[in-house]
């Protein structure tokens, strides 16, 4: 046995945009154990349901995270709609799906940029974020916001998108697809990039299942798990299959996200083609009474919303289980046996969102 050392990693670290702490137990340069610590910025947003009524809380839900903001708003609205048995118009479902897929697109591009930055490929980082800007421009044009949109409400959506802008989005998608193809080639085929990702941080299919991994982390290890298959919003009317890889290493996780970018582009195009005419919201009256668990697929994986309502304006409980929280045990497993130098890349390959986790 080599010399054992404990190295604190985080909560402040150049590779971490948000605080998480790991105590890394090393034998020489190899990690033998990692002990996590979170909660540096725990906000207790779940308890705000006691102070904000169920309609107002949509705004709070959107602020759980700045990357999956729209999906948090959508997941929360879907939960309350299920409790109140509200059926949203078909067009609202398609609009929600389109914004959700655009959110996945920008989130994965953001992650690719961060990954490139972590292994020191600055120009690749800049290209990834330059492409992402086009998606943020779509958000700005269609919702008025680039980060928090505030378009989702209980009963549908607040804003419609006209045919002319839908056509424009379609053209932007063609351009984004072309540009992503170029950077995807570097992420997947460049020897210096592969050297940092191929065979690093392997998570077997069994471990991924046993450790409760979700999202691209699970799918890169061969688990067919994608909550969009539940068919919520308009997903039941679109053609897609979960993206699966089997190697379970950092390269596979990168590959899954890159292929999901192309999948999201395709889903946005399908939404534009199939978008029905009609209303975008229904009037919701009364207060929710009952409980429901909603699951949707965020860029980082399955997120669970549980709401319990008592017939008043204020919910008894809202619980949000975020994908990063679910992926922490799997991260700890991938860290075992890796070199200290690979720790930042491995932490990044779960695409951690501490803001979500510290809801």
């Amino acid at each position: 046995m080599g010399n054992r050392t404990v190295i604190p990693f985080g909560p402040q670290h150049p590779v971490l945009p948000e605080p998480i702490h790991l105590d890394l137990v090393l034998e020489d340069e190899v990690v033998v154990e990692a002990i996590p610590r979170i909660g540096y910025i725990h906000r207790g947003l779940e308890r705000l349901v006691e102070k904000k009524d169920f309609q107002q809380y949509t705004y709070v839900a959107e602020r759980i995270c700045g990357i999956c903001s729209f999906m948090h708003g959508m997941g929360y609205c879907m939960t309350i709609e299920s409790i109140m048995d509200v059926k949203i118009p078909e067009r609202a479902g398609f609009l929600r799906t389109m914004w959700a897929e655009l959110s996945r697109l920008h989130s994965h591009l953001l992650w690719l940029g961060l990954l490139a930055d972590a292994f020191g490929f600055e120009s690749l980082f800049m290209h990834s974020w330059r492409i992402r800007e086009q998606i943020l421009d779509i958000f700005e044009q269609t919702t008025g916001g680039r980060v928090i949109f505030s378009v989702c409400e209980i009963g549908g959506v607040k804003k419609d998108i006209n045919t002319e802008i839908l056509q424009k989005i379609s053209e932007i998608m063609i351009n984004v697809e072309k540009e992503v193809t170029e950077i995807a080639n570097v992420f997947l085929n460049d020897s210096s990039v592969k050297y940092r990702t191929k065979g690093v941080g392997v998570l077997s299919k069994q471990d991924a299942f046993d450790l409760g991994a979700v999202g691209p982390m699970a799918r890169a290890s061969g688990i067919d798990l994608d909550m969009r298959k539940l068919g919520y919003a308009a997903y039941g009317k679109l053609k897609f299959e979960p993206i699966i890889e089997t190697d379970g290493d950092s390269y596979a996780r990168t590959s899954v996200r890159i292929r999901e970018i192309f999948q999201s582009i395709d889903l946005v195009k399908q939404c534009i083609t199939l978008m029905p005419e009609g209303d975008i919201k229904v009037k919701v009256t009364g207060n929710p009474n009952g409980e429901y668990f909603t699951r949707i697929e965020q860029p980082r994986g399955e997120v669970v919303y549980y709401a319990k309502a008592n017939g008043s304006k204020f919910l008894d409980r809202l619980r949000v289980r975020t994908p990063t929280f679910a992926n922490i045990p799997a991260l700890l497993e991938t860290l075992k046996g890796c070199d200290l130098a690979d720790v930042p890349i491995l932490i990044l390959t779960i695409d951690p969102c501490i803001s979500c986790t510290e809801r």
Partner: protein
């Protein structure tokens, strides 16, 4: 709407029921706690996109068993519930002893009115 089932059990049945689900190929999705008329604990499991919840209600001073011997990754959920709600959970595989979160108050999701 997604199919979901809530099965009411007693706290004593938790380990047996969880083990049966594990052996049946269920994935543990989350553990949730609601502080209303006692501590209502819901253990959510998934198989083939169907959600099954095991549920029981206990008083705050009742100690329950950890399921981390069956689903090892449940330690995070259990530490969270222990720390935020003050639910007593024993035999957690990795017990942070109320130090998972850096929070300034004890059991913030189960505070007495006068403390708030």
């Amino acid at each position: 709407m997604e199919q979901q089932t809530i099965r009411i059990i007693s706290p004593n049945e938790l380990l047996t029921e969880t083990l049966l689900l594990k052996n049946d190929g269920y994935r543990m999705v989350a553990i949730s706690c609601t502080n209303k008329n006692g501590m209502e604990l819901s253990y959510s499991f998934d198989k083939d996109y169907e959600l099954l919840n095991l549920r029981f209600i206990i008083d705050c001073d009742v100690e329950i068993e950890s399921i981390s011997c069956i689903y090892p990754f449940s330690f995070l959920y259990e530490n969270e519930i222990k720390e935020l709600f003050g639910v007593k959970i024993k035999n957690i595989s990795v017990d942070f002893n109320n130090n998972l979160y850096k929070i300034s108050v004890k059991t913030p999701f189960n505070m007495k009115k006068e403390d708030e």
